[in-house]
Symmetry: C2
Subunit: 210 residues, 2 copies
DNA sequence: AATAACCCGAACAACGGTGTACGAGTTTGA
DNA sequence: TCAAACTCGTACACCGTTGTTCGGGTTATT
């Protein structure tokens, strides 16, 4: 639960990055993170030894930087979330027009990123708690919720469903599409249009003849 | 991979149920199955010891009936699938009218059953292969595919998406709803109507103004 | 009542994963 | 160049899970 380099000052306050790491250590941490994200994203049952081997490092070295498995997972989640966050912000910044167009753009440009976050989620919920994970998860959700709310105000999204449920369904289907691509049932190219036409149909205001 | 009671005749042919089990054994097998289905449906990281304890039986007794963990999972999958199959058939038999009404009925009456199948899926894919699982999974899918195809012919479901994807999305959202109920974000009562209004919007023919 | 089927607890071996300790080598940064 | 930082392999202890064995007790079936 504690990072290797985090030490305590006299008054017990936590220092984050006081003594700078050596260059090779920094590099190794990056490779560990990248390798682990890749492994956890593909396989289940990934051990610390697997990560070390795949990263071309010794197992002890991994433990030197991430004292426990939970620490590694936590760092991984933080890393993945920030990447997703950034991808969403980039997209929203250059998004123009109504919310449904923006949503289509968002799906197009971020659904692969969210993909990696998918399997990691299972490991994270297992190792960390579900609550702690969702707290990490929040910023990404908020962006989507905001976009959906904007769409409702613009009248391009339906208002007869709770926003929570709409956003949850949104992410759920994106994850599902990623699974289908991995299973070879949907091609990587076909997925975005499949997703947008499914999701927009789901979120559009419904005709009164229910 | 082999059931406790399955023996081989002289010519090596497999006998399924030749010597009938004693009544208490039959009863215990049933409780093991029910308990395990419940445990695997709720928690992750379920061990054979957990199953035995929850069933009020000795660990060895469990192994007496299911020689390996994989055997138990397999039996569990078969059991769950057959229950889902039966629930769907019951519903489809008394279903009247158009396919979209039938689908709404189907969701109403089977989404809790499919719920149990949800987390079990993760364990099953981990223990068994993904292919073997999907072979077990097929009959349930086929029923849904057939219903969707009927809806397309009747003109109440859209035809611009592959049936595979529509059915996959269907199950995906049902599983998602079950997760939300478990997380306490959606009440058990609200879920069915939430699901039907989401899913029907997703499957309905889309207005040409895309 | 007698036999076979069954359940049980305890104990054991094997395995894999986690986390720690040590000593020796290598790389960096000043 | 030199000390500190870092890496490495090996080895060890610990834990939980799986699967098996054995002997004695309990229950169903005829």
């Amino acid at each position: 639960m504690v990072t290797a380099r985090d030490t305590r000052t006299a008054d017990g306050r936590r220092d984050e990055d006081d003594s700078p790491r050596r260059a090779d250590a920094e590099r190794n941490i990056a490779t560990i993170l990248a390798t682990a994200l890749d492994l956890f994203g593909r396989n289940d049952n990934v051990s610390m030894a697997d990560v070390a081997r795949a990263a071309g490092l010794g197992r002890v070295t991994v433990y030197a930087h991430f004292p426990s498995r939970a620490d590694l997972i936590d760092a991984l989640v933080v890393h993945a979330i920030s990447k997703a966050e950034q991808a969403m912000d980039d997209c929203l910044a250059r998004s123009h027009g109504s919310a449904d167009r923006a949503l289509a753009d968002l799906i197009d440009s971020t659904w692969q990123v969210l993909n990696h976050y998918r399997r990691l989620r299972a490991h994270a919920t297992a190792t960390l708690g579900a609550e702690r994970l969702s707290r990490h998860h929040d910023p990404v959700r908020h962006r989507a919720e905001h976009l959906v709310a904007r769409g409702q105000e613009e009248g391009v999204f339906r208002t007869d469903l709770p926003i929570d449920w709409m956003v949850t369904s949104l992410f759920s289907l994106i994850h599902t599409a990623a699974d289908e691509v991995e299973a070879g049932k949907v091609t990587e190219d076909a997925a975005p249009s499949l997703l947008t036409s499914t999701l927009l149909a789901m979120l559009r205001p419904q005709s009164p003849a229910q």
